[in-house]
Symmetry: C2
């Protein structure tokens, strides 16, 4: 089944203890799409500037990703530069240039209208809600957000959250969104805001899911259940950029590849999320996500099981 993702396609300059990468193709939609492309068909809606060439776009098309929804416009592409020299777990933003992203108005090509899965990567919740409204027939919608929208665009974000089946955010964001320091209570509050399931990413500690019967089509029970997926301890994290988006791509890509969303599929999707996140951080930018083969992915999935299962 096809996933439609809307979000940023950008250039990133990244500095980590392992080195530096200049102007590599990045952005949340890029990481998400590449990770998801190993599981299902992916279509992208984004905007880029004149500096984004056919060669840059080939990063996506080489993986079979449909880029007809990437709008090319006058000006420069979204640019971000960050440093992890002080803290590998949190980027210090050195520079953000929104450029063509500043006036981004997502348009959905007619060829994308039959997409069954929709992922709203981290952008202005007004745009996320707009795309959501334009795709009323999708089977499942997941999305992401960040501190900036939680703090300064709470009302818009609240409207967007009502349209979500699943929300994927990190610890800090979840606690901030719920105004609650305890994760279980925070999850209860967030699930009351709209999303039918919540995935909280803990970086090197893996991820937790909070869901209920109503997370699965045709069911309505609201008693909250939990699931924890591990992360792979790595001797070197070369570049954490995009780990969360790659997690989301693996998670949602696996779900879209399955006939229906069941608790068993949801749990396996958490593992595939961790698997794709673990690959992403092994090289700078999207390098590792471009060159995987299905065998490697299955091998690492087996490693995640070995890491966490008693037998």
């Amino acid at each position: 089944m096809s996933i439609l993702v809307v979000g940023s396609v950008a250039f990133d300059t990244i500095e980590t203890p392992s080195g530096k990468a200049e102007r590599c193709v990045g952005g949340a939609a890029t990481h998400f799409a590449l990770a998801a492309s190993y599981f299902t068909d992916v279509r992208v809606i984004a905007v880029v500037g004149e500096d984004f060439t056919a060669e840059h776009e080939a990063v996506l098309t080489r993986r079979g990703i449909d880029t007809r929804g990437i709008e090319h416009t006058k000006g420069k592409s979204f640019f971000w530069s960050g440093s992890y020299l002080k803290n590998l777990n949190e980027a210090q933003t050195l520079n953000t240039e929104l450029n063509v992203f500043q006036s981004f108005s997502p348009k959905i090509p007619a060829e994308y209208e039959d997409s069954e899965y929709l992922f709203l990567a981290n952008i202005d919740p007004v745009l996320q809600a707009d795309v959501r409204a334009k795709m009323p027939r999708v089977k499942l919608v997941c999305g992401d957000t960040m501190n900036y929208w939680i703090n300064d665009h709470a009302e818009n974000l609240a409207r967007m959250l009502k349209g979500l089946d699943g929300l994927l955010i990190n610890d800090t964001e979840a606690k901030l969104l719920a105004h609650e320091g305890n994760m279980v209570l925070a999850a209860e509050k967030i699930l009351a805001m709209g999303p039918k399931s919540l995935v909280v990413k803990h970086g090197e500690y893996g991820a937790s899911a909070f869901f209920s019967e109503r997370s699965f089509p045709g069911n309505h029970g609201r008693a909250i259940r939990m699931f924890r997926a591990p992360a792979l301890p790595l001797a070197e994290v070369v570049d954490p950029t995009g780990a969360g988006d790659s997690f989301a791509g693996g998670f949602f890509g696996y779900i879209a590849s399955q006939k229906e969303l069941t608790p068993a599929v949801f749990k396996k999707a958490m593992f595939y999320g961790g698997v794709m996140g673990s690959f992403a951080v092994e090289r700078f930018g999207i390098e590792r996500l471009q060159q995987l083969d299905p065998g490697e992915i299955e091998e690492r999935f087996a490693l995640f099981c070995e890491l966490s299962h008693l037998e």
Copy 2:
């Protein structure tokens, strides 16, 4: 099989967002012994003062714990008071009075000499090494330590580490001990210091184990393997005091209850550690650890499996 534990038996005054408890029976050996007592016979070596009455000791003996190794001496018992009002994940020590613990010199009663399992709870590594040397025939020795000994008693600690089969510490301690911020590299360094296996406790994120073939009797391979056990997300952590010691008690107690230490037993022990830690924090001090029944423990063990296993 019997576990001998040496460590502190003390009085704790604890303040958390959930309330306050005054002078409850605490100490690392107390939490460890109570948690382990649900799995196997436990014997305690410690020292207490005149303020430690038969009623206080009954906290242990009611659980069938052998307290003949608890020395009663002139003076006051070890007293600690701490607050978690600012941070539930890290106690702020308000007061520490070593009292009779200052001149503690562990003596091993003749009845304890056939103990097959030895746990060196967090005390001066000189005393830990001394007890270890006096018990040359034990099958398995595990131990704990803390920042204070790592920072200011490094040489003594290094000697103690050489005598350990397993070391159980938390994230911060592991990184400090190895002078290494990456957990995988830190684990490699620590395993080269002596311990045949390392368990790193991550609080609300569970625990990781680093081990190799030589962690299991009769094997010698050194290739490092990893395992991750979850923690149970709780809507209220009443009092985190002793969670790590309770983890150690569940972990080592389960191992001592089994015929031999195999990778399968080691992994299940990680889960039982998490189970006992999760009970410990539900009430102040040792309250919860005194009143469990085996059915509750097995039920929570099943919950840990459901939380982390795909099927």
